[in-house]
Amino acid sequence: MARFDTLNHAWMVWDGPAPAPEEAVLEYTRELEQFLADIERRAFRMAQVALRDPDDALDVVQDTMLKLARNYASRPSAEWRPLFYRILENGIRDLQRRRSVRKRFMTWLPGAKEDPDNEAQDPLDNVADAAPAIPEVLMQGQAMQQLEMSLRALPARQREAFMLRNFEGLDVAETAAAMGCSEGSVKTHYSRAVHTLREQLGEVW
């Protein structure tokens, strides 16, 4: 009987063939593992673009994986991707809201310092302009940093639409499902995002 590595400790008590319900669980668990393995790095980078902090991004991605696996694993696998990104975007928004509340609260405290999450404190702002001698890899890294900064400056819905459509490659319908809005709204958000990004980055790129 095929065994799933991470589940061995729970499986070892059974010597004979597993009953059908357990095989079904294993089957879609394997499929889910493949799905998550395929999507996790992109999801992490998208969360990192939105949140900047890698630990926060990892927390949100992990939470998203857990919620998807617990609540939606039995759904058809074709639905997983929009569901995953819907959970992810909700998680990102929740975290940003908490940060916003915290920042507002901190400003009321006497002697409170500037919140490190403040955009004005972004260390990436201090990155020097590209010089002709910089190797290609470094230039690409810098271009990505500029893109990330511009994406963070976008309204949340435009950023979501751009990342889901452009980075993740979701079609309009999937993006609409992930964002919980109409396809028309997705097109509008995406179009505005591209327009703004082109204006900001066009000359630099």
Partner: protein, 133 residues
Amino acid sequence: MNEQPGNSFEERAQALFRDSVEGLDFAMRSRLTQARNAALEAAVARRRPRFLRIGVLTPAAGVTAAAVLGAFLWLGSPLGQHAVTVADGQSNLEVLDLVASVDEGSGDAMDMLQDDIEFYDWADKAANPGPAA
């Protein structure tokens, strides 16, 4: 399913993003893998039929089973049976006490029991009370 961006700006953005994904360091990849495994284990634990979840509780179940078996053996032993079946209500400990309290001058207690046929007869009747004649 996927609609690819159709101009150079969008293609460049996509390529940069892919490069940044490929450039994730090993430590972060490892943490992501751990997160994935944790999610999958949680999912399977939730989906596994209830009767199969007992596999996780094997150590506790083993201890409980051992305790039940021990209690069963104790109550099912000849000692325990005597405590229940002796007709005159004497406990097993009382019988032992009688045996142990025999005068030392009358010889070994075991020798006395071997010689006392009446005692064996009484014990047999007490342990297996037959139908009233």
